[in-house]
């Protein structure tokens, strides 16, 4: 996916928050990334140094909290963990599902 864009988006959010809080440097950043968000953690890690260079995040510790994807079967109502978008309901085999968790791409908090 688009990890450099993602990293730049994170930097933009952090810069704005840092300005509001009137701080020049962020010590740590907590990110929430869903396992079905499409974000490759390895690619994000790879893009990170380039994105944060000369920003408030340059020295920040990056903490990624993975959020496991979960779906509710729209046919039988069964609640299950999902690893791929094409997974079927383990109970009734249906493809109809509401993925209610696991698509997150969020800046949770900043430590300053």
């Amino acid at each position: 996916m688009h990890e450099l864009s993602i990293a730049m988006g994170i930097v933009a959010i952090a810069e704005k928050e840092a300005k509001k809080a009137n701080v020049a440097e962020i010590k740590a950043i907590d990110l929430e990334i869903g396992t079905l968000s499409g974000v490759e953690i390895e690619s994000l890690n790879f893009a990170w140094p380039m994105a944060v260079a000369n920003s408030v995040l340059e020295k920040a510790e990056k903490r990624i909290h993975l959020i496991k994807a979960k779906a509710k079967c729209m046919d039988c109502g069964f609640d299950y963990n999902i690893e791929n978008l094409f997974d079927t309901c383990p109970k009734c085999g249906s493809y109809f599902k509401d993925i209610y968790q696991g698509k997150e791409m969020r800046v949770k908090s900043l430590e300053v």
């Binding site: 996916m1 688009h2 990890e3 450099l4 864009s5 993602i6 730049m8 988006g9 994170i10 933009a12 959010i13 704005k16 928050e17 509001k20 809080a21 010590k27 499409g38 490759e40 390895e42 690619s43 790879f46 893009a47 380039m50 791929n84 978008l85 094409f86 079927t88 493809y95 109809f96 791409m105 969020r106 800046v107 949770k108 908090s109 900043l110 430590e111 300053v112």
Partner: protein
């Protein structure tokens, strides 16, 4: 760099009509939104935590919703056409425009990393078109589309067709404010594309299977491709077409024109 497609920072984007001087997006740089976040601070020892809880693509999402509101206000139907390079997006557009331009007013936004070639192909049909050259970026975003649409200034009750950059991965994350996303897969690709690139199929409304004129020479299994796509998105609407011979195109036109 974006390791999927090797794209870099979007610093050399051009938006232009055939015959125009280019406008650089980076000069315009719209401040897309004001801030809605309510940050809370709390203190532990010598640390201060700022709760942000903000979606990383929020800026794109907000401007996409603004585009959607613009389309709604003008009763415009906008589609976002996505596929791998070479699946036939521009050919499908050309055929669709040539066969329907007397029934409906059309506008086109073309997205490619480089060249005005696709815009020139649309311009040859006397359809208003804006080319976005994304430079190193591998997808359109809502800001680029916003500027292209302002440049087109489409009439009310028209259809705006947006051809995204050929890429089945990155464009899936960027809402442009379209009313429907149409993904094209052609018979010269594998019939397992839908499960290899599930995000794109999960987020689309319509799946067009193109180049069916070539089926006799290939071992692409249409039913298998559809079954794979339904596994990812059971609500997909399918059209099987050949953009070059015109086979199957009428059903697609019916759908497209019924949206207005």
């Amino acid at each position: 760099m974006c390791t999927t497609c090797g794209c870099g920072v979007a610093d050399d984007i051009k938006i232009q009509m055939p015959g125009d001087l280019a406008t650089m997006v980076s000069d315009l740089n719209i401040e897309a939104h004001h801030d809605h976040t309510h940050s809370h601070h709390h203190h532990h020892d010598d640390r201060t935590i700022i709760d942000v809880e903000q979606d990383i693509l929020q800026a794109n999402q907000l401007l996409a919703e603004r585009n959607r509101g613009y389309f709604l206000g003008k009763n415009i139907f906008a589609i976002n056409l996505v596929s791998s390079p070479g699946s036939g997006k521009t050919t499908l557009l050309e055929k669709t425009l040539a066969d329907n331009k007397d029934k409906k007013k059309f506008y086109v936004v073309e997205g490619d990393q480089q060249t005005m070639n696709d815009a020139d192909r649309i311009d040859a049909l006397h359809i208003p078109v804006v080319q976005i050259n994304t430079g190193k970026a591998c997808h359109l975003d809502s800001d680029m589309v916003n500027q292209a649409v302002i440049k087109l200034n489409p009439e009310p009750d028209s259809i705006v067709m947006i051809e995204n950059v050929g890429n089945l991965v990155c464009p899936s994350a960027f809402d442009l404010g379209e009313n429907a996303r149409v993904v094209i897969v052609s018979t010269t690709e594998g019939d397992d594309k839908p499960i290899k690139y599930p995000d794109m199929f999960a987020g689309s409304d319509v799946c067009i299977i193109n180049k069916i004129d070539l089926l006799p020479y290939l071992n692409f299994d249409v039913e298998k491709a559809k079954a794979y796509a339904r596994q990812v998105n059971p609500n997909l609407i399918f059209f099987e077409v050949s953009a070059t011979t015109g086979e199957g195109m009428n059903e697609w036109y019916e759908w497209l024109l019924s949206k207005k």
